[in-house]
Symmetry: C2
């Protein structure tokens, strides 16, 4: 697991993860969050909606952004300050979600770093937004 300090970061630096979304992931997310909205957990109900079948929680894809930040860039030690999220397209069972975080701005004095954050399926954004984290200096 990477652990980067403020001095290790530069604008444009990027990290990527990829995860398939299975029915079991959606069920596990429903259990841990309490979000048992039937569009996520009830195939018969979901089939009657405009989605045509079960979709993942948007916040499940968002959790992959948290994972990319917390394990890849900047990795452990960074403190999550804020995240904006736009839910652009549904994630369906069997979709492979690629999550990319890219350093956008670095406030060297205060340690605030913003990153563009996007989850994609088949090259199209499903969730995107911006993260802000505080990144410690080496030896601080």
């Amino acid at each position: 697991m990477d652990k980067l300090f403020l001095e290790d970061l530069s604008v444009g630096q990027t990290a990527e993860t990829s995860r398939p979304v299975g029915a079991a992931d959606i069920d596990a997310f429903a259990a841990v969050s309490g979000d048992t909205n039937p569009v996520h957990v009830d195939e018969a109900y979901a089939a009657t909606t405009s989605f045509g079948g079960r979709i993942a929680h948007g916040m499940l894809a968002a959790s992959y952004i948290s994972a990319a930040l917390g394990t890849k860039l900047p990795g452990p030690g960074a403190v999550y300050v804020s995240q904006s999220l736009k839910f652009r397209r549904p994630v369906k069972i069997g979709d492979e979600v690629t999550t990319r975080v890219t350093v956008k701005t670095i406030d060297e004095r205060r340690g605030f770093v913003t990153l563009d954050t996007v989850c994609q399926v088949g090259g199209k954004a499903v969730v995107d937004g911006e993260a802000m984290v505080i990144v410690p200096r080496r030896g601080a």
Copy 2:
């Protein structure tokens, strides 16, 4: 599970959920998200940080907002458009997280509804922000 239509909503309408956060919840969230940052899953490491012990993923608390929207207000049928999140304080093992969503604005013509969203522990905000959802009209 409530299922409210646009006509059922009014500004100031509110719904609340409450969930205790256990170590098992943090482990489950780490597994489903892939966010295995040791501040969440490794007590020995987390004890060396400024938090003094394991903390929950901020996005776990955020998932309770998704749950309140998806199961309470407006409930199933609403489509999540966006969410802003500020991570204000850590959530620790044993904390009881109360999540409240409150209707802030209603765009009657387009069906867009914004809600204030806040997760609290002991009366203090741990995560807050604003949600936007699209809510269908009855019979639409």
